[in-house]
Symmetry: C2
Amino acid sequence: MRVVITGGAGFLGQKLAKRLIEVGTLTGSDGQPHAITKLALADIVEAAKPATDGIAVETFVGDLTEPAVVERLFAAPTGSVFHLAAAMSGQCEQDFDLGMRINVDGTRGLLEACRKQAAPPKLVMPASVAVMGGDMPEVIKDDTATTPTNTYGTTKAICELLINDYSRRGFLDGRTVRLPTIVVRPGKPNKAASSFASSIIREPLQGDDAFCPVPVETPMWLMSPRQAVATLIHTHDLPGETLGANRIITPAGLTVTVAEMVESLRRVAGDEPVGRISFGSDPEVENIICNWAGRWESRRAGGLGFEGDESMEAIIRAFMEDDMVKPGASA
Amino acid sequence: MRVVITGGAGFLGQKLAKRLIEVGTLTGSDGQPHAITKLALADIVEAAKPATDGIAVETFVGDLTEPAVVERLFAAPTGSVFHLAAAMSGQCEQDFDLGMRINVDGTRGLLEACRKQAAPPKLVMPASVAVMGGDMPEVIKDDTATTPTNTYGTTKAICELLINDYSRRGFLDGRTVRLPTIVVRPGKPNKAASSFASSIIREPLQGDDAFCPVPVETPMWLMSPRQAVATLIHTHDLPGETLGANRIITPAGLTVTVAEMVESLRRVAGDEPVGRISFGSDPEVENIICNWAGRWESRRAGGLGFEGDESMEAIIRAFMEDDMVKPGASA
């Protein structure tokens, strides 16, 4: 079976690719395991090819909002799609049209390509905490209305609805999963408004300074990259009949305040790294992040076998094991 | 102030136009009353021009999914838009692409035209009961997640999200209102799956036979055309600040079962018209209608001064006063 990962050059796409190569199979719409024979990594830049033997890895470079690029990507029969490519929250807020073009029109183009496949592929798209905002209940439940107060969240909520209807119609076998803020991302800060949440752990551990732009009492709903990859694959493998008409899933995230994140860092790595964090305010980031929901309760996720991270300390230790660049080493 | 009504040739567009001519003013985003000086009725067919003195009524014929048509419609400065044009539920279910093109792409084109206006216009779009479906709570509340199980509802839920974000960004001052099933529509059956709900009252009163394609215990959430027009205008006139970031409004509908509708007809008009209704099943209609929510509770609507119809009998009497064609008279 051929598997496509969009955003395949990104850190999550790369981790997912490596994990798919390790597991070697995915569960199809027929409920049976299918061996992954081809893995296509599509992105706006050339994706690194993870080491494999047996699985053919192809890379596709191009803008997925261009129909010709999508057509080329889906020219071969494709069994599964992980659609990770998206404009991020900060970008979408700065440029509404870009957000709509990449996240809504780009996703629609991709869904149409899936619809044209001879057999409807499975498709997983991460949605986001950003689908909630503004006036919302203290705790977000499975049947809470989406109330995005930023363009990124709006585009993701629209894609959730589209993927539900494409699935209901049998054009594809889709599912969306509202990934929590992923912490700790490796590498450099990115254009997500939540980028700081990784920076305040990663930079101090790697010997650099970090800036926290939101009040420390802000609750964040988090998941480690390791758990996010497991969640994407678990979402993929669920039988469509179990999900029914509603393909929108809230997984098992971990709620901690920024202050608790910092204290966890202290417990894992001591006072020295914590001293590298300075605290202040960035109204642009605050305006997005402080409107996100920190507390979520998903009865459905529990029933569907989703697992979350054990603790903030476990998340930090996972970063130190998987991705940390030792202070002084070249990144 | 110039006011645009899309779907201006439709029965609701025509009733709204007449009512706007009667009231003569609308409340602008500045909270002040603005005299309506021009009324533009846009539709795929030529709209009838209601009688006026003082207000200039223009008609625009064209497909609003064509950019040139939208550009022409919005060439003059426009203060308010009632966007009633849409592909209906039955149509969207038969033709997914048509539903997406008219209801999503068409609305986006219209929102973009509003965004290009020198001053952001007010915009009202009716959404629908169809935004709910499938696994949903017994009673729909203001913060219940949209779970459309048909393409029409999907497109309307997407437009709700779009109008929220366009408003938040200040591109326009929009609001959407989830109109209940409008009963009793005058004229002929249309392509809405809910068309029967008007037919079972209208046809018997006008001396014709009618067919009820759903079980009589099906609850329906209803509003008279008279009340729908008042609701659209009330929605328009609400101050944006009162609504805040969430511009999605559930108004004050009336919940009755099909059996109660029939009994109300009997109380108002006797046994003879009720005898003209035959009862059976149409799986295509049932599949849409029996997935709609019959019971809604909108605390917000009460606080915002929305009013509903008094009773099913009152709805039937309103039809007899406003729209009924006497049996034997030419339609």
